[in-house]
């Protein structure tokens, strides 16, 4: 029978409960004891189960408990197993034998002592119920039996706090029942065939007259009929209560679902179900166990894992607060241990706690993510259900509630103080609503627990690189400045720094990458990552979070600039030295290293040009990766060229440009999203010895890159612009195609011009400066190309003659284009 309850307010319950319950038509919304038993899995939860089914299940569970009690509560005076002469050597009180009755008795006594210690301090503010000897006795027995049954957990402080509300709701239900009984006495009294018996009824004194009077009054069968019909007309809640507590229903008295006599049994069943999780994921007992979860991959106790999941969710939701807490050293388990172990029992008053538990129990507890059992990236097992997700979401909403006060404190102890003394005047509906909204996120968070990936917060990060990576991901997301205005300041600083360092490192090209890396990391942690990020992304095309992409796009500029600095220096160095031999190695190194530096790219670009040129005849795809680097370094070098022009006068630019053009077109195609990808170090590598055409292409793309870079520098508006430009680049850079190159250059020029014009309002000065620089560098580049062109023709062409021939043609046309563009620029 489907009974939709009209939510009645339980004794002392808050009004909020009605609003929360009205959404879900729960059968026993007002009878928490029954509802929770359904939620915890003791009673059948399907809406079609009748009251009789409920009664039967209840009776069975009670029988089980009674048997358990008989079995485990030891009376040492009774002989074991009914044997009349127990072996006294074993079964004497002083026996050391743990199996002896007395041994067990003493163990139980010890357990009982521990339980009593906690029970005496249980809910003193509600002492009128909880401190009564009857209630205490029940709690003690239940806890004892559960601990004896589950020896592996023993008794831990906090279990009593989980049990107490369960018993309380049963008690509330029974009280409610007695109220209903008083109101609707008629339905409860034991009417035998419709006659209510009086004590003085003696059959032989039966007054027939009186009887007939009674009949006429309608106290007879008529009343029975009236009763039956009126029962169904009753408020459905009352109806269920009557049926649930009918002593003559299924299973008789044992099946009376709301029964005072069997409160202990029911409470035990609920407690057991709560601790075991009823086959679901959230088993409270796990929170008490010090050993790692069976299927855990981290080797941490489940509480730690759950706390980590909590913090992970917080980092997803409010990363600034999360980083603040992490910086202060507030580990989640300091406060979440108490929250989780007692399911927030210590944070809220009893009545509010009941509401919270209503919500928690309403969530399903079946394990999600079953398929991921064998993966390394399994979820934190103990919270792997929607109930677990709600728990962690609720905890996070609690933390967020204290957000302002937490952010205001600067030391860990006051943070903890605030977290551990949750304010009393909390709007529970708000918390619950927020928790519900976070619940979905929590499910995902549980699945990707950073604790498992070991790149997270508990000092288990293995490599510095990984750690740095994670740090930058977590730490920089809210704080990274999204404007590039400070970049120019930093950029100059770095450039200055870098020049000096570069001069010192003439002979140390090999080690330079790491040094460079360290240096850049030194300067700015997050940005150092992003600096290498573009190159790395160009290498392996990592999938980045969408929210980080914006930041990266803007930071790539800076990275490029940094790289440019490094590149120029390195290129200068390289060109001076005979780097060709190193080129191969560098190129390979560069390819291999995940966090490449532009230094590397320069090296590979410059030195490995021979190698790359040899590869150029091969299909472009294998080179693309290399070329990406080359492109980057090329671009960065170009960029640095232009920037250096401002400072130095850029004698090197020509050389750089000579190197750059060749690899540039190729990488651009590969990474349309990243502006920086247009340059690749391999461009540099390929530059020197490859065909003129390639050089020209590189030059073209380098010029485009320059422009793009300038735009990016100019003020970060460039995303759509960059998009345009990158698309243009992409379009033109795909192949060694002469036409495409020309088209590209043309389109690029057009795009750039358009973007230039669109940029008119913002950062005018920068643009002007940069454009002028561009023009100059272009001219220089062209000169270099022409000179190299001459050289190439002069040299004995290697096997790449075919390309060279084609390249010459394209190179020339490209040069012409360049001239035009540079003229335009210089005019501006």
């Amino acid at each position: 029978m489907a009974i939709s309850p009209v939510p009645m307010e339980p004794t002392g319950g808050a009004l909020t409960e009605t609003t929360l319950n009205s959404e879900d038509s729960r059968r026993f919304g007002n009878l928490r004891g029954v509802q929770w038993r359904i939620d915890l899995g003791i009673l059948p939860s399907s809406p079609s189960s009748s009251v009789d089914d409920l009664r039967r299940v209840t009776a069975n569970s009670r029988r089980r408990y009674a048997a358990l009690r008989r079995q485990l509560l030891v009376d040492p005076h009774l002989p074991k197993d009914g044997s009349s002469s127990p072996d006294l050597v074993i079964d004497n009180p002083l026996s050391q034998n743990p199996d002896s009755m007395w041994g067990r008795f003493f163990k139980n006594a010890e357990l009982e002592r521990m339980v009593d210690q906690d029970l005496t301090r249980l809910y003193p503010e509600h002492g009128s119920y909880f401190q009564t000897s009857g209630c205490q006795g029940m709690l003690r027995r239940i806890l004892l039996l559960w601990c004896l049954r589950h020896q592996e957990y023993g008794y831990r402080q906090g279990m009593h706090e989980l049990l107490a509300p369960l018993l309380y709701v049963l008690h509330v239900d029974v009280e409610h029942l007695s109220e209903v009984r008083n109101m609707y006495e008629d339905y409860f009294t034991d009417k035998f065939d419709g006659f209510s018996f009086h004590e003085s009824d003696l059959t032989y004194k039966f007054d027939f007259k009186k009887f007939s009077e009674l009949m006429e009054d309608g106290n007879g069968s008529g009343k029975v009929a009236a009763n039956a019909s009126s029962l169904s007309q009753l408020d459905p809640n009352i109806q269920t209560i009557v049926l649930l507590s009918d002593a003559y229903g299924a299973e008789g008295e044992l099946g009376v679902v709301l029964s005072e006599k069997f409160m202990e049994h029911d409470a035990y069943c609920m407690f057991d179900a709560l601790m075991n999780g009823s086959g679901g994921a959230v088993a409270m007992a796990e929170f008490f166990s010090p050993s790692p979860f069976a299927s855990s991959h981290t080797g941490f106790p489940p509480v730690i894992e759950a706390s980590a999941a909590l913090y992970h969710l917080l980092s997803l939701v409010d990363s600034s607060l999360h980083t603040h807490l992490v910086e202060l050293g507030v580990e989640p388990q300091y406060f979440s241990l108490r929250w989780l172990r007692v399911l927030f029992g210590r944070e809220f008053a009893l009545e509010e706690l009941l509401i919270v538990w209503d919500e928690i129990f309403a969530c399903e507890n079946c394990k999600l993510n079953k398929l991921a059992e064998n993966d390394v990236d399994t979820s934190s097992g103990v919270l792997d259900s929607s109930r677990g997700a709600f728990i962690s979401a609720f905890a996070v909403s609690m933390i967020l509630y204290l957000r302002s006060s937490l952010l205001a404190t600067e030391n860990a102890t006051s943070c903890l103080k605030r977290l551990l003394n949750f304010p009393d005047d909390v709007k529970l509906e708000k918390l619950i609503r927020k928790a519900k909204s976070l619940q979905a996120l929590a499910v995902d968070a549980n699945n990707s627990n950073p604790l498992l990936t070991q790149a997270g917060m508990f000092e288990r990060s293995e490599s510095a690189a990984v750690r740095g990576h994670s740090l930058s991901f977590d730490a920089t997301s809210p704080r990274t400045p999204l404007t590039l205005v400070p970049d120019s300041y930093w950029e100059e600083k770095w450039r200055n720094l870098h020049k000096e360092e570069e001069r010192k490192k003439d002979a140390l090209e090999k080690q330079a990458p790491s040094i460079r890396k360290g240096w850049s990391e030194k300067v700015k942690l997050g940005l150092s990552r992003t600096e290498s990020a573009p190159s790395s992304s160009s290498v392996d095309k990592r999938k980045k979070d969408p929210k980080l992409s914006v930041r990266r796009n803007l930071l790539e500029d800076l990275a490029r600039q940094l790289g440019a600095d490094e590149d120029t220096q390195s290129i200068m160095d390289d060109e001076r030295a005979d780097v060709k031999d190193q080129g191969v190695e560098d190129g390979q190194d560069f390819n291999d290293k995940f966090a490449c530096t532009t230094e590397q790219t320069c090296l590979s670009g410059n030195a490995g040009s021979e190698e790359n040129s040899s590869i150029f005849s091969d299909p472009p795809s294998p080179i693309n990766g290399v070329n990406d680097h080359g492109n980057e370094s090329g671009r960065s070098s170009v960029a640095s060229n232009s920037s250096i022009d401002e400072h130095d006068g850029g004698t090197n630019t020509a050389e750089l440009c000579a190197h750059n053009p060749e690899g540039l077109p190729l990488p651009v195609s590969d990474s349309p999203d990243d502006v920086s990808l247009e340059a690749s170090p391999n461009d540099q590598t390929a530059a020197e010895k490859s065909t003129v055409g390639l050089k020209e292409r590189k030059l073209l793309s380098s010029s485009k890159f320059q422009w793009l870079w300038k735009f990016g520098r100019g003020g970060g508006e460039g995303i759509p612009e960059k998009g345009q430009v990158s698309e243009a680049n992409k379009g033109c850079s795909n192949r060694f195609d002469h036409d495409s190159v020309t088209r590209c250059s043309a389109s690029n020029g057009g795009v750039i011009l358009s973007s230039e014009s669109s940029k008119g309002e913002t950062v005018d000065q920068n643009v002007m400066l940069t454009l002028r620089n561009l023009g100059q560098s272009m001219l220089e580049n062209i000169q270099v190309i022409e000179s190299v062109f001459q050289q190439d023709r002069a040299q004995a062409a290697p096997a790449k003659n075919v390309l060279v021939g084609k390249g010459q043609v394209t190179a020339r046309s490209a040069l012409k284009e360049l001239r035009k563009i540079s003229n335009l620029l210089s005019e501006m």
């Binding site: 005076h77 006294l88 004497n92 003493f106």
Partner: protein, 192 residues
């Protein structure tokens, strides 16, 4: 469920060096609620050891005890039972049941615990129970041959007392059990 240890006549260090190892391993703190000691410990160290076993320690003076402050007799009530304690060298003839019964009536107790004979005895008569825990160390006695180390543990539970006797016979601990029930307050005491 009160566990009471009745022990005595250790005569440490004069007639015996220490309790037997097996007894010592059984006597661990925490299980026993009371200790009643008939006397003749003789030195303070034994007193401290027993005190460590259980803080509730009751001793009467034996003739060789070095601490002269112990009383000659003592009575205490545990649960429903009244216990009387005396070393027994005062009751002549030593170990005579009738004389001990006289003492019991005099002290008005249900259970009388005495020692001195270094021999375990447990009598039941209409007025109550007389228990002699023997010598815990098996110390020499001039009136008993072949003294076996022994002591007694009483489990007082309501109106019933279960007496466990621990004896060390041939190096093995043997345990025996005797049940006594208090029939009713009216019968076991005569008015004085």
């Amino acid at each position: 469920m009160v566990l009471v240890l009745a022990i005595g006549d250790l005569h440490v260090p004069y007639r015996a060096p220490d309790l037997p190892a097996k007894f010592k391993s059984m006597l661990v703190p925490g299980k026993i609620q009371h200790i009643i000691c008939t006397g003749n410990l003789c030195i303070k160290e034994v007193h401290d050891y027993l005190k460590n076993l259980c803080p509730s320690l009751h001793i009467t003076r034996g003739e060789y005890d070095e601490d002269a402050r112990y009383p000659e007799t003592k009575t205490l009530t545990i649960g429903q039972f009244k216990l009387g304690l005396c070393h027994g060298h005062q009751v002549v003839p030593w170990g005579d049941l009738d004389s001990l019964a006289m003492l019991q009536r005099q002290l008005d107790v249900d259970i009388l615990v005495t020692g001195h004979t270094h021999q375990f005895k447990a009598y039941k008569h209409e007025a109550g129970v007389v228990i002699n825990p023997g010598s815990a160390t098996g110390a020499y006695s001039s009136i008993t041959y072949d003294v076996n180390p022994s002591f007694v543990l009483m489990d007082i539970d309501g109106l019933r007392v279960v007496v466990y006797v621990y004896e060390l016979i041939d190096g093995e601990v043997k345990v025996d059990k005797i049940d006594f029930k208090k029939t009713g307050t009216a019968t076991s005491h005569s008015a004085h």
